[in-house]
Symmetry: C2
Subunit: 557 residues, 2 copies
């Protein structure tokens, strides 16, 4: 019975955080809904919470258990927080992956590198082209953002139309790609939109957003007035910005060099997929070493201070034969993402030591955001006049503020963070269920759960250091010699001025001599006694209780 069908929304990532986007929609009878997944992105690890981890993405166990009901994955654009986990998750989900051409170029490469199936990637043109999967009919609606061919999704279902904006801004002169088309958006609204699932990133920015085209004049002027070498960094995927920077270099009579693997890869993807045309000729780093520095314009990776990227390498010394000097100019045509400040500041200081002049975006001239600001969000609400707004792509504070904005305009809205299944069938959104929505870590070659304890142990070792205690128990259940102690990440010498390892070995040896036979025969009890004594002695000696690993070897069973 069709009245039993329901339309559901379930974010598995990206709602209640900025990063690792993954949004599920479903339509059908309860618990038999046919499903689609919009985006499968990553978020990046840090030393504070995830040392040693390579990538983080949403826990897709819920979806994996229902993979037979999953029709397809749609990828809105090629930023890592939207596409980065597609190849990692694909072997567990195995379904077609639909994208536009530029995004598809990146997706295929990822599949090849990470063991997914490149053949699963299907290229789709923009609206009005559509893909029919199960009960869904999906079109890619061109939007402006900071990477080519970003798209919202128009998802037609028997229960009504969903517009899922993806990451977007309203830009009528985006330099690369289709300008914002208010007439089309208005028409979609006229036809009726049930649900607007909408980017919330910049809901706290009170002024209307600025067009990508507005950074051109400032950059051109800056580069034309520069005397020495000019180096500029931005996100490699911001092809429009790369074009603006390259053209500024060319107009100033400079040869353009692209430095950094991602930079070359993105320009290649842009050309292969046809979104990038008329990019100025570039010269290789080798050729550049033969060109006077005042005739060079380097466009480089590493705008977020990444230690191995070209920016950091140039700040530290020579890179690919090129070196910055006093009187050169370094431009951050980018903003620093919260959490990356220290890395960026390190680069600026290293450049300062070389006498390089650094220009960043503190003036507001050399960078614009790729997300819609508060007035732009309001305009989209009005153009689409949906029955309900579901804020996504935001931390809790962004989602909450976006709900307020929608409700001010009389549109029902709901805060739905990761794991909140929302029933969209009725006139207002309703929470249907809460799913456990955790995080999965790519750790070397292995996917581990965030709560597996592996990373917790790493953090403990980093904070407390570790003591390894080795004891050999002979055939008569007597200790054979003193315990052997090894330290890692601990001061060698404590307050008694003797080596900590010696103090521990002596003390634990004495303790073993006093330990009664019952404990000596019981691994658990003996281990526990040795651990507690080790922590106590360490605390007396160095004022810190380390992690302790005890290994007891018994010469007979």
């Amino acid at each position: 019975m069709s009245s039993e069908n329901r339309l559901i929304y379930l974010p598995l990532g990206g709602a209640g955080e900025i990063g690792m986007n993954a949004y599920v929609y479903g339509y059908g009878p309860k618990d038999q809904e046919r499903l689609i997944l919009v985006d499968l992105g990553v978020t990046f690890p840090d030393m504070d919470g995830t040392p040693g981890v390579d990538l983080i993405f949403g826990d897709i166990s819920w979806l994996e258990a229902r993979a037979d009901r999953l029709e397809a994955i749609f990828v809105t654009h090629g930023h890592e927080d939207h596409i980065g986990a597609v190849a990692l998750g694909w072997p567990r989900l195995k379904c077609p992956v639909y994208t536009r051409a530029f995004t598809g170029n990146l997706a295929v490469r990822k599949m090849e590198e990470r063991g997914g199936d490149p053949e699963a990637v299907q290229i789709v043109g923009a609206y009005p082209e559509k893909v029919d999967v199960g009960p869904f009919s999906v079109s890619f609606l061109p939007v402006s953002h900071s990477i080519p061919e970003s798209s919202g999704l128009i998802i037609n279902t028997p229960a009504g139309r969903i517009v899922h904006t993806g990451d977007f801004k309203l830009d009528e002169s985006p330099v690369v790609g289709e300008p914002f088309d208010p007439a089309l958006w208005g028409q979609l609204g006229q036809e009726g939109v049930k649900v607007l699932t909408c980017d919330s990133t910049n809901v706290f920015s009170p002024q209307g957003g600025r067009s990508e085209a507005t950074v051109g004049p400032g950059i051109h002027q800056l580069v034309s007035q520069a005397k020495g070498m000019v180096v500029a960094t931005t996100f490699a995927s911001n092809i429009a910005r790369l074009k603006t920077l390259a053209e500024a270099g060319k107009n100033a009579g400079r040869s353009v060099v692209l430095l950094g693997r991602a930079m070359r890869r993105m320009v290649e993807a842009g050309i292969q997929s046809g979104v990038l045309t008329d990019f100025p000729t570039v010269v290789s780093p080798e050729e550049a070493t033969q060109i006077p520095r005042e005739n060079l314009m380097l466009i480089v990776t590493g705008s977020q201070g990444e230690r191995r990227a070209a920016s950091a390498q140039l700040a530290r010394g020579k890179y690919m034969g090129l070196e910055m000097k006093k009187g050169d100019l370094f431009l951050f045509s980018s903003k620093t993402i919260p959490g990356n400040e220290k890395g960026v500041i390190q680069i600026i200081n290293a450049l300062s030591e070389k006498g390089v002049d650094v220009v960043d975006d503190s003036s507001g001239i050399y960078h614009v955001s790729g997300h819609a600001n508060r007035p732009d969000l309001k305009r989209v609400h009005e153009l689409m006049h949906p029955e309900m707004v579901i804020p996504m792509h935001g931390e809790h504070r962004h989602l909450r503020e976006h709900v307020k904005l929608a409700e001010e305009n009389g549109i029902p809205a709901i805060i739905a963070t990761n794991g909140t299944m929302v029933d969209l069938t009725g006139p207002v959104p309703k929470v249907a269920e809460y799913i456990e929505a955790g995080r999965t870590y790519l750790d070397g070659a292995i996917q581990i759960g965030a709560l597996d304890g592996v990373v917790r142990d790493r953090i403990r070792m980093a904070l407390n250091g570790i003591v390894l205690v080795n004891v050999i128990i002979d055939e008569e259940d007597e200790p054979l010699g003193d315990p052997w102690v090894e330290l890692r990440g601990l001061p060698e010498t404590g307050t008694s001025n003797a080596p900590l390892a010696d103090v521990l070995e002596g003390d634990l040896g004495q303790m073993l001599g006093r330990t009664d036979d019952k404990v000596l025969r019981d691994d658990d009890k003996l281990e526990d006694a040795l651990r507690r004594r080790t922590r106590q002695v360490a605390n007396e000696e160095i004022g810190r209780k380390p992690e302790v690993v005890v290994v007891i070897s018994r010469l007979s069973a």
Copy 2:
């Protein structure tokens, strides 16, 4: 011969970084100069570079080796980056510590807590009072900052006068403490200043600084319009701000509560030292639980997102019986120091989940900086018209920009980072020597060197995990059983789907069986072989090469 005397400056911390200030001045024959130290502060550790470390301060080995020539330590003000290591370094330097009353109150407490001598702390009044130590005559020049009784130092020497600004701003209405006195500063300049050693923190801020008094009206209005409970956070040591916040609460008919140990401690120090008068009556947290929430104003610690401070605790749940709810207001009357963004954002989101409205300083209304901006620095250069400017209290980029500013005004200046000894005797500053200027870590109860490798090992364990391999070799130099393997911070299962520990034990056991006697008899060779094989197998199984500790136990020698 007096012409052989020289005047030197040697920063051991704070020059080329913001934090752990420590500046040495010396006067006398080369290598026999009598010395004074200005400030001995700390900087704070982080997971990225210094996991597990408690505090960081400048390496004072150079000074310790010359402690017999050290006359005194002068502490300009009570911020941790200026006073925090006085008690830690004191046992190695043993000399009088001169401060004004409020700073002294804090210094005595630190001495008591950290094992320094509280009796060493000598309280000095403001200029024109002076302290004569060796060839120096030193006065405390009141300056405005964001803590009471901040002072510059007027250091008269036989080679001329040094004005060491300390941290300062120009504030003619600082709410607490002495207003900026341009006449006095002008007079000091008239008398002649040889060296101006000057705060560089805000050299990139193009507008003149704002007075502490300017935040009053905005805060009063915000608090008076609030409906629920109001909670405000700022640095506990910003007594003037605490007073403004408390008065805003009182004027709005609210009972004021101080939450957090540092908050109560600072108000106590303010009252004890006489700098804080007329502070509104406060009620205890216990009393507050009996007062309607709309009549409460909490002033709390934790403006930088510190996990254990009152702000974070209130964001997570109940604290001291008090709990925030929907409709309450939380005010950050503070700016976020770079590196602390994530912690602060976490609190904001946790408050958002509770329905609490958060106001921060993005409007620029509720906080002002405690440092002089570029036009203020220029004004001080002009008032003091020194023979030379030595920029301090800044990263390299700040020092460099401050040198440019001085040189634009025709004043010689020099970038002197930590360890750069500058000869100030002549008409322009000259580098005399480079001293090794490292960092010392307080790690639990032990002071360790930054390059000792302790912290490096912790970082490696955090990034790579660790494998412990235990091998017993019997009396005939034959392995006794298989090796025993323990893992920490590593996935339990690798790509072969068997437990990693089992795979390693089996593989290493087989390897030992094949190992020739020469290697089995040689601990170093055997350890090396086991380590390399462990890393190789781990890399095949989990795509990661862990740290490895090998312990070989021999049953006979």
